[in-house]
């Protein structure tokens, strides 16, 4: 089949392209230009496009560049900034996957006559019954099913993850064997549109007004203050302006209307329930026993799912509002759906 392979300029997508070619597919590589602003994280940079193009040349496939900077701003950057001003802790990489890597790219692929879109994510698409589901990648430490959890049937049907059955070590070995320049390139870590030098603070500070926040104990006693309530996340321990040496204190709640940050002991972070909004499902809405994962590399914990409420089997640390929450089947092998922590 004719496959549009998203080449980021990293090692996973490089090897994914090679896997598709080996499988006999007609492959065209594409690099999406997403962030048009300043960047020093290496991601989305011209150097990455150079790497992607060179890999495509070495593998003997065509390479295109699509400019999706407007869509990236509208669907990822602007919502990211807006979420912070609302006191949420968003996950921009998930929004990028949702709107750019799949929606926008697969619509374009469809228009241009491609049968499928492939990415270098460590995940697998497999059939359960007669429906498609995102399964965890073969390398448990690198599994990325969490960040592609939002794919509905119509996307899953035309999505390929060619390195999902490989470990990261196998991917690198394959890249070395092929002599690809991306073989030893480090994994991308940070949000691509935020510079390492300025960080999140400089990025947000240039876009939204920061509000000073008062830090109080669970009894309401004022303990200190922070310069920007928008920079504080539930569960955070450092950087909330409290003197060191005392017992460890964590942000347990943020009240935006009064610009108050409540801190408490670690025990105060634990909750027995979690409300999830904006639910999406791979197939049908699900009620019953699930495994729930609340960060890209966090462990999934058992819970009962009832409507949009997660009832933890054991109390779990509360999840910062805005974070993605992903439901796996009870055997913890494939994604049922997910949403955003309320």
């Amino acid at each position: 089949m004719k496959v549009l392979m998203a080449l980021s300029g990293g090692v996973d997508s490089s090897v994914a392209a090679a896997e598709l070619i080996d499988a006999g597919h007609d492959v065209v590589g594409v690099t999406m230009r997403l962030w048009g602003g300043e960047s020093d994280t290496g991601c989305c940079s011209v150097a990455d496009v150079d790497d992607a193009r060179r890999v495509a040349q070495q593998l003997g496939i065509d390479h295109l560049v699509f400019n999706f900077t407007d869509d990236f701003n509208a669907h990822v950057v602007d919502p990211y900034v807006r979420a912070h001003s609302q006191g949420l802790t968003p996950n921009p990489c998930i929004e990028c996957n949702r709107h750019l890597k799949f929606e926008r790219l697969s619509e374009r692929a469809d228009l241009l006559g491609f049968d499928a879109v492939a990415t270098g994510h460590h995940a697998r698409v497999d059939v359960v019954g007669d429906r498609f589901f995102v399964h965890r990648g073969a390398d448990a430490a690198k599994d990325q099913s969490y960040v592609v959890h939002m794919l509905p049937q119509r996307e899953l049907r035309r999505t390929v993850f060619p390195v999902g059955h490989l470990t990261k070590a196998q991917v690198r070995q394959r890249a070395i064997a092929l002599g690809l320049r991306t073989a030893t390139k480090p994994d991308s870590q940070d949000v691509c549109f935020i510079t390492q030098t300025g960080g999140r603070e400089a990025f947000l500070g240039a876009r939204i007004p920061f509000r000073r926040g008062t830090v109080v104990g669970s009894d309401g006693a004022v303990l200190g203050d922070v310069p920007a309530i928008e920079m504080v996340t539930v569960g955070q321990r450092r950087g909330i302006g409290l003197p060191g040496g005392g017992p460890k204190r964590y942000v347990t709640a943020i009240d935006r209307t009064t610009a108050t940050i409540v801190v408490g002991d670690e025990a105060d972070l634990y909750v027995s329930e979690l409300t999830v909004e904006q639910l999406v499902w791979a197939d049908q809405p699900y009620t019953g026993d699930v495994m729930v994962q609340c960060s890209a590399h966090g462990a999934a914990m058992p819970a009962g799912l009832d409507g949009n409420t997660v009832h933890w089997q054991q109390p779990q640390r509360c999840v910062a509002p805005g974070q993605s929450v992903v439901f796996y089947d009870a055997s913890n092998s494939y994604v049922l759906g997910g949403g955003i922590a309320a």
């Binding site: 230009r33 496009v49 193009r53 295109l64 560049v65 699509f66 400019n67 228009l111 241009l112 006559g113």
Partner: protein
């Protein structure tokens, strides 16, 4: 060109003339000497450069001493802007639709950028007013002879009159890189002090160009070193390139008026064909204001990035706006300056014809483009 391809991207680069290729060969083999040397082999090569300079001067309508050989259009443009500012101080001024080789140079020195009308020609009133109201004196005004994206021809006589009247001490530069195929350069040079050309746009090789600098137009060299080109451009001469460029320039000058007619007819046929076959195709600039080889249209209801992929797949080479360093298509600064709305600019398509273009190319491109646009508009692959 590989068999089967339809090449309609001559404004990006045009195939080399066979006689220009042939003219290079002796200088890549036996005549290898450095023309700045003091022995007979050097003098032989030097003679070829001096002859080339005479030929160029003849085509440009200037004196041989006013011809400086450069590495291309960008170097010529940069030398004109940076060199004039460095020698004379003041600020540079250009319209917003200039090629980036001029625009980015002007912006890098915090120069003045003035608006254009709907056809892409510099707004004469805005130009005059910018010249008189600038707090720093304007020392160089750079206005392109022909726009590379939409093909608009500038009224350089009109521009020159405004500059001479309002800023008599300013140098006038024109980026004439897109003009050589279509306009008699002798009609341009009387109005300007500095003029840039690039060989690969008119059948010469890449990596060589010309800066014409009128005697008395003071500018500092961009490159210093061995003092070649009378200290105005150091660096060993690209002898093969200079000789081949000159052969191509002479031939272009000779064939120009016949080619204008022939290619103009092909261009008309192409644009008419697209407008007959498709709804909602608008010509960005009317034909009376542009060069014969340029067809620029905005096609409603499609994204040009997707269209270019389908054209590429069907072996039709076209373009949209200029590409950025990553190879991604950038929104066109030219169309934005002309006031073309974003949603129209998204469907912009530049088709540029040249010496090798034929009726068969036009017929094939018309069919392929119409098919591709219909396919994109219906929203699903055929």
């Amino acid at each position: 060109m590989q068999n089967g391809y339809t090449y309609l991207d001559h404004a990006a680069t045009t195939p080399m003339r066979a006689d220009a290729v042939a003219a290079m060969l002796p200088f890549l083999t036996e005549q290898f000497a450095n023309p700045s040397g003091s022995h007979r082999f050097a003098r032989q090569v030097r003679k070829s450069i001096d002859e080339a300079r005479d030929d160029v001067a003849d085509v440009l309508g200037c004196r041989p001493g006013e011809v400086i050989f450069t590495s291309g259009g960008t170097e010529a443009d940069n030398t004109a802007i940076f060199g004039t500012l460095d020698r004379r101080g003041g600020v540079a001024l250009c319209p917003a639709v200039e090629h980036h080789a001029v625009l980015h140079a002007v912006e890098a020195r915090h120069g003045l950028v003035v608006g254009v009308d709907a056809t892409g020609r510099v707004d004469h009133d805005a130009l005059a007013s910018a010249l008189v109201t600038s707090t720093d004196p304007v020392s160089i005004v750079s206005v392109m002879a022909v726009n590379n994206e939409v093909g608009t021809i500038t009224d350089l006589a009109g521009v020159a009159a405004i500059v001479r009247r309002n800023a008599p001490n300013a140098s006038i530069h024109t980026d004439a890189v897109q003009a050589a195929n279509w306009l008699d350069l002798r009609t341009i040079t009387p109005h300007v002090d500095l003029l840039s050309l690039s060989a690969h746009k008119f059948g010469g090789p890449k990596g060589v160009g010309i800066l014409m600098a009128r005697a008395g137009s003071a500018f500092a060299p961009l490159l210093v070193g061995g003092g070649q080109e009378r200290d105005r451009r150091s660096g060993t001469h690209n002898v093969a390139g200079i000789v081949a460029m000159t052969v191509a320039l002479r031939a272009t000058d000779h064939e120009r008026s016949a080619e204008n007619e022939r290619i103009g007819r092909l261009r008309d046929c192409l644009v008419d064909g697209l407008q007959d076959g498709l709804d909602d195709v608008t010509e960005t600039v009317d034909r009376a204001h542009k060069v014969a080889g340029s067809a620029h249209v905005c096609i409603g209801g499609i994204e040009n990035e997707a269209l270019l992929y389908l054209l590429d797949e069907a072996e039709v080479c076209a373009s949209a706006a200029s590409a950025c360093a990553s190879g991604a298509m950038e929104p066109s600064h030219v169309l934005a300056a002309m006031g073309v709305p974003n949603e129209r600019a998204r469907g912009a398509l530049r088709l540029t014809l040249g010496r090798t273009s034929t009726e068969a190319d036009v017929a094939r491109a018309t069919t392929v483009i119409i098919d591709a646009v219909r396919r994109l508009r219906t929203g699903r692959a055929a």
